[in-house]
Amino acid sequence: MIQPIVKARDLQKHYPVKSGFLKPSQNLRALAGVSFDLYAGQTLAVVGESGCGKSTLARLLAMIEEPTSGRLSIDGVDLTEVNNKSLSKGLRQKVQMVFQDPFGSLNPRHKIGDILQEPLVINTGLNASERRQKALEMMSLVGLREEHFQRYPHMFSGGQRQRIAIARALILKPKVVVLDEPVSALDVSIQAQVINLLIELQQELSLAYVFISHDLSVVRHIADEVLVMYLGRPVEHSSKEVLFSNPQHPYTQALLSATPQVATQRDRQRIKLKGEMPSPIDPPSGCVFNPRCQYANQDCLTTPPVMELYNESRVACWALKQRRIGDEKLAN
């Protein structure tokens, strides 16, 4: 049995929010219980609208922040049990991250060579010429030329900068790369290049990707599994094929129907969600999706649903469990 590289169990992250002078601070539940396994060479895409906790999940996985509760283990080591100094340095090297904004993620005062060598300076005992050699190798791997070594970030386009960011993330030979919307700041034509580069690198180095995105057409291209989140909670988790061909959760269905498509053969019914996402400080009782769900009934208002398997998908939904929508879908 192959061990998963990343194993997350009921991850939670709460932020205290001051509500006013002399009032008790409230809890913002940015992440309210996420579980998944991720294997080497696989891509888990995390999708959802803004504010659903995608980026918080990314920051937890990248060890920038610590979970409030829950267990997270990387490569068989439980992070919650590791004492901070000794092991975490080795663990840190196993997870690296590529950020959304390639204009903010590279230090404007450092040359590309210095940016790429920084992880090596901190973590390895290599000498200057060995470091330079490694940085140049990494640059050619992501399609940058040797003369870029001495240039500053502002002299590059967005796509090139994202390549630099990817090279920096890979230079310590990590096992997991967290990609926090790595292409959403790029032109569509460049997006494809970067995505294809990521796929090539994944095959070459057997990396595990956690791909955070709100763009379902990009997810369709790169993901193996998809985790749909809503208000800090997972609502549906399934393989890419199942999710795109047969979405189960009403929220996933709405999300998919909102993806723009060229020349649809048949008229699709667009599901329009009403209202806004509720505040994570004061979430609705029961299923958090109930204020916007057309299938909501009394159970949805009182008891939160749990993830269960329906039609090859793990879904948290009362309407499915009570066969209020599943059958209708099968009948079609």
């Binding site: 920038i64 840190r92 690296q96 993620s105 040359k111 003369e147 001495q150 240039r151 920096r168």
Partner: protein, 298 residues
Amino acid sequence: MKNPTVVSKSLRVQQWREFWFYFSASKTAVAGLIFLIGVVLMALFADVISPHEPAEQYRQFAKVPPAWKDGGQIQFLLGTDYAGRDMWSRIIHGSRLSLLAGCVVVVLSLSIGVLLGLVAGYRGGWLDSLIMRVMDTIMAVPGLLMALVFVAILGPGLLNAMVAIAITYTPSFVRLTRASTLTELNRDYVTASKMAGARPMRLMFISILPNCMAPLIVQGTLSFSTAILDTAALGFLGMGAQAPMPEWGTLIAENRDLMLSAPWTVTFPGIAILLAVLAINLVGDGLRDALDPKLKRS
């Protein structure tokens, strides 16, 4: 393929060109820079330029007016003071002390201010509050008064005056550095360095500090001129450079009694202070225009 070092050299040249393009757009800044270079050269070659020793007393030539006035002598271009010392030579040598005061004050307050500001912004919490409240306290007292208090404690003298003035200037540097540190701290490139395992020292000085430099350079230049001004003021009050030293403020102070009978003895040191401060301020304004990306025209 081009040699990378050649590329980087031409890059630096290109950056300097760009900087000069924006700086030279302001004619006054260039004029200020030229005058400032003149003052620096004057200070460097004071021994060569000055016609007399600054402390040499020509007793028979006391209170000689400037050369172009009646009774003036060509060997004493700007006249002499009560003891027969050549004003022109004393002003030339005084430029050394003024520039020294400016440099020492800026270096001291800048380095202390940057250090405290970085720590306050990076660490946050109680340490931040402590540092910032101390700085607020220093700022609450008028600068010159504060400097006077410190000199009263340390004792009069040029060095003590410089230290005292440096202390009063530190808060502005702390605030500037802290503010830029706070904005830079949340940038992704800092997070990326953290993820690579960078320690606080590396984050503060290698990742963050270079990105906070532009406002600090401008503030440093402007502080340079006020430092000269404040050193002169302390000298005038008898708390800075002491009597035989040809410091500009001290020159005015020691000839204060002659203000009506021999006005040139106070006028020319005053003009020297005025021009030096004006020139540095003009350069500072030009620097701000050139370094502030928000003011750049594309």
